[in-house]
């Protein structure tokens, strides 16, 4: 991941100014207080926000972004949220390692699932997609400890197939098993660089 001279503002509020970042680690975590620019950076990396022209951002061929908010379509079942939008089929879904774990609620309408179940289906969907770059914004919200462990080990498996992962989280215990390289935002704007303590959790 390489970013050079990134400049971005929300209307007149300058968030990133000549921001530079480089890392070749397979899994990266961005940490910092709320509102410091973590999600904005993920949106820029995933091309959901467009920085100013002089910015150079190395985009991946396929980037899948799981945002903080639940983005399942409530009128569809968990399975339909996957089948109708991804190039996959029932067989591939059933052969995914985590299928037995989500099977009990996969066929429910998303509106009938709990927040934790919806979160798991979102992550399940991302894992089936197998992107080159997986962006996870507070991925384990509403999930119990057992579910977090199960999904963490599957994300680690994904790294073995050369997928890179960037995630954000406020809670060390959520992501400690992933052992990411952590980069810190401080709470001042505009952001020009991130600090690192070479701090593998």
């Amino acid at each position: 991941m390489q970013i050079t001279g990134l400049t971005f503002s929300y209307e007149k509020f300058l968030v990133f100014d000549d921001f530079n970042f480089e890392s070749s680690e397979p899994i990266i975590a961005f940490k910092g207080p709320s509102g410091c620019g973590k999600t904005t950076l993920l949106k820029i990396i995933s091309q959901n926000l467009t920085p100013e022209k002089k910015s150079v951002v190395q985009y991946s061929k396929s980037t899948y972004f799981v945002i903080q908010e639940d983005s399942l379509f409530p009128w569809l079942t968990g399975e339909e949220n996957i089948l109708k939008f991804l190039d996959t089929d029932k067989k591939k879904i059933q052969s995914q390692k985590l299928f037995p774990f989500v099977e009990s609620f996969l066929f429910k309408k998303a509106s009938e699932m709990s927040y934790g179940q919806r979160r798991m289906i979102e992550l399940f969907r991302a894992l089936i997609f197998k992107p080159d770059l997986l962006l996870l914004d507070e991925p384990f919200n509403f999930m119990d400890k057992k579910s977090r462990c199960v999904f963490t080990s599957e994300i680690i498996s994904l790294l073995e197939s050369r997928t890179k992962v960037i995630l954000t989280s406020h809670y060390n215990e959520d992501i400690s098993d992933l052992k990411p390289t952590v980069y810190y935002f401080n709470n001042s704007f505009p952001v020009r660089e991130l600090s690192t303590e070479d701090n593998k959790l």
């Binding site: 949106k43 959901n48 972004f65 908010e69 983005s71 939008f85 509106s111």
Partner: protein
């Protein structure tokens, strides 16, 4: 403003208007020319030939066909324009202009083209509703939440290519307020179409009652329009709750 469900106050509200009516009529002796008596209005339901309920059924039929047709085609047109940006660029200014033309002003066109036929009345109501709903549909789809746009970008697809699984349910979720408002518009169009080109219907009755100064008939027709609007609105809300089941 919070709407409470206080039954006592609701009963008071329902009784209030008739009570004021009674007071004005019998205590202040307001003339029949301005305010008919409740008894004379009840009389209308038994004395007219054909019965006022026949006129009611005709108006109701026109409303249901015209309104339903306008809603369905309006949504389909909106989705079609959402799918095709080029088509939107071509047709949007025209549809916006047509939407701004008061439907009542188009009555002479429909009269000249279709005479007293039901087709003309249906098309008047239909066009009065369809263009408005298509614009509303496009407006709703221009404000897709970020969370869905991020998902579509992640899978490298466009929301416009998922009309059945995404766009339609997303629009239906937000359309109820416009539908309820359009219902009142549709009733107005039924009245206008019956004023000028009909031999049966509540609008026709109001028109003939006006020329004979039969205020009790006009009041009875207005009462029935009110009941029609209230009843269909309630049914619409019930049906919509079933359609957008995920909101409950």
């Amino acid at each position: 403003m919070k709407i409470t469900n206080n039954s006592t106050l609701r009963i008071v509200g329902i009784i209030l208007i008739p009570a004021i009516w009674f007071v004005l009529k019998y205590l202040f002796n307001v003339s029949d020319r301005y305010l008919p008596s409740p008894v004379s209005i009840i009389d209308v339901f038994t004395s007219l030939e054909p019965n006022i309920l026949i006129h009611f059924i005709w108006s109701l039929g026109r409303l249901i066909f015209g309104y339903s047709g306008g809603v369905v085609i309006g949504i389909i047109l909106g989705l079609w324009l959402f799918k095709s940006k080029n088509l939107t660029d071509i047709l949007y200014p025209t549809i916006q202009s047509l939407r701004s033309v008061p439907a009542a002003a188009t009555v002479p066109f429909f009269l000249l083209w279709f005479g007293f036929e039901e087709t003309g009345k249906f098309l008047l109501i239909f066009t009065g509703i369809a263009f408005n709903l298509s614009i509303t549909t496009i407006e709703i789809l221009s404000k897709i939440p970020d969370k869905y746009l991020v998902f579509f970008r992640s899978i490298n697809r466009k929301a416009e290519n998922h009309l059945k699984d995404f766009a339609l349910p997303f629009v239906l979720e937000k359309l109820l307020p416009t539908l309820r408002f359009s219902l009142s518009t549709a009733i107005g169009l039924v009245v206008v179409s019956e004023f000028l080109g009909s031999q049966v219907g509540l609008g026709y009755l109001i028109q003939t009652a006006r020329s004979t100064f039969s205020m009790n008939v006009i009041f009875a027709c207005m009462l029935l329009f009110g009941i029609m609007n209230y009843g269909i609105d309630k049914i619409l809300v019930l049906i919509w709750k079933k359609i957008i089941y995920w909101k409950s």
